[in-house]
Amino acid sequence: MRTTNKILKEVLLILVALFFLSPIYIIFVNSFKNRQELYENVLAWPENFGFQYYIGAMEKMNFLNALGNSLYITIISIILLVVLSSMTAWMLVRTNNKLSNVIFMIFIATMLIPFQTIMMPLMQLMGNIMDTLGIPMLNTREGLIFMNVGFNSSISVFLYHGFIKSVPVSLEEAATIDGASKFGVFWRIIFPILKPITVTVLIINIISIWNDYLLPSLTLTDKDLRTIPLSTFYFFGEFTIQWNMAMAGLLLTMIPIVIFFILAQKHIIKGIGDGAVK
């Protein structure tokens, strides 16, 4: 009796989870169907698996180019975020004075500012910096990276700050007595200890930067610079939706995310949990 009950529960749980993921199944099966098949039954398994719609979507979205842009922007942004926010947080924790407290408080308080509150003045300011100093802030991938670092620094500093407070000072003191510079102490001794929280910072920032649509849509105007969400947006706005090609396009955009998830699943689940509980 107990075992049948348990088996029933197991089956029920998987069924619920499968039902939860059914939209993905629907996208998948319909990305292989021609118009006729689509019209007949959207829930049915496709008659044959041809990749013509994928090839079409790839060309229309300029997918490989967008993938390259997304990778470049995300990777450089997260490297800069990890390096700069860990250094900043360490210094703020170890130099316990008024200034450090004020800087930290400002970082935290600004977490409440929604992007919509700053988007217009930010674009104006970036435009002014371009005009007066000649630094190409708008319509360049590097300008977007700069803004990504600015926007995601609050949460990153916050997470590092919380973690570093629990790291004993004794390790650093010994190294300082041995004559190591602050730089050496941080990178050789402290940074390796921060690995768990670095993983969390990486995961949280990868998810938000990779999927971001609004900021890139405001800063990048050139077709060649489009990230994956941008090219998806224009792809859907371009023509009356040919659903089979649209589904293929959507699945393409999911592939990198799924790969990332499979590679780093343990870290992602743990990182999300840690990041939220801190």
Binding site: E10, L112, Y213
Partner: protein, 291 residues
């Protein structure tokens, strides 16, 4: 000497990020407050006319804005309830010694990783083709119709998609909370003859308060600020029935070129978000029990 040297290190470590952060967040925020007192169309050559608090006064006569604010509140309430019920439900299911728990957890978490924009497009098709098909098959076409075309249903469509996106994420937070509950407490309740419902109400829920705080904070603020999914799923339609706060601000500034008015809305938006977030954290923090 050493003091100066220490300041040098301090600056070297903190200045780069503080400067980037100031340029991207702090300065635009301050400029934004300044802009909200002017009447301006965003074109540099055109004059900026100082109007004081007029932009803020105008908001109270702006039907579309008030409607959008009301819709956003309605959406947020529904979304917070729905995401937390589904998320907590899944968390309770996958923490109950089942062998399939890990697989289920992975599957439920998956949608969170797909960006909000893509999710909207996926569900556009689900509502337009799958819902109508289910309606045809079952004859329940009063419920299963294309929700995106009916102003009475469109907001609920957005709630469904948002729930699908966030439930897995919130589930992870509840799982962490449930796993932190000492086993002996639950054991003791079993010996005392507590049934499942009593166990939930008297032990699990009170001890989950910290998780509630975090989850409510996250769902409240992300629901209130929703934009990407709103854009791709409905674009604010039909008949502005799903134009949320963030989209209304975007349209005011970049659609109608009312930079001053739009910026005033953006400042109000910030104030509401801040008040909601701080109040909510304060209230739930008060209810947390000491372990």
């Amino acid at each position: 000497m050493t003091k100066r040297k220490n300041w040098g290190w301090y600056a070297l470590f903190t200045a780069p990020l503080v400067i980037i952060f100031s340029v991207v967040v702090i300065i635009p925020f301050l400029i934004g407050i300044y802009y909200s007192f002017f009447d301006w169309d965003g074109i540099a050559a055109n004059p900026m006319v100082f109007v004081g608090l007029e932009n803020f006064a105008k908001l109270f006569d702006d039907e579309r804005f008030l409607n959008s604010a009301w819709l956003t509140i309605k959406f947020t309430v529904l979304a917070v309830i729905s995401v937390n019920i589904v998320g907590l439900g899944f968390a309770l299911l996958v923490t109950s010694n089942l062998r399939t728990a890990n697989t289920a957890r992975t599957m439920v978490f998956m949608p969170y990783l797909i960006g909000g924009l893509m999710l909207g497009y996926i569900w556009q098709f689900v509502f337009s083709d799958v819902f109508t098909l289910i309606g045809e098959i079952t004859g329940l076409d009063s419920i299963f119709l294309n929700w995106l075309l009916d102003p009475n249903y469109s907001l609920y469509a957005l709630v469904v998609v948002f729930t699908w996106q966030m439930a897995g994420y919130i589930m992870i937070i509840y799982i962490a909370g449930i796993q932190a509950i000492p086993g002996e407490l639950l054991e003791a309740s079993k010996i005392d003859g507590a049934n499942n419902w009593q166990k939930l109400r008297k032990i699990i829920f009170p001890l989950l308060m910290p998780s509630f705080t975090i989850s409510l904070f996250l769902t409240l603020s992300s629901a209130f600020k929703i934009y990407d999914t709103n854009l791709s799923l409905t674009g604010g339609g039909p008949a502005n029935s799903t134009e949320m706060f963030a989209m209304n601000i975007y349209n005011e500034i970049f659609g109608y070129s009312n930079y001053g008015l739009g910026q005033a809305k953006a400042i109000v938006f910030f104030l509401i978000v801040a008040v909601i977030a701080l109040t909510q954290v304060y209230l739930t923090k008060k209810r947390e029990v000491e372990m």
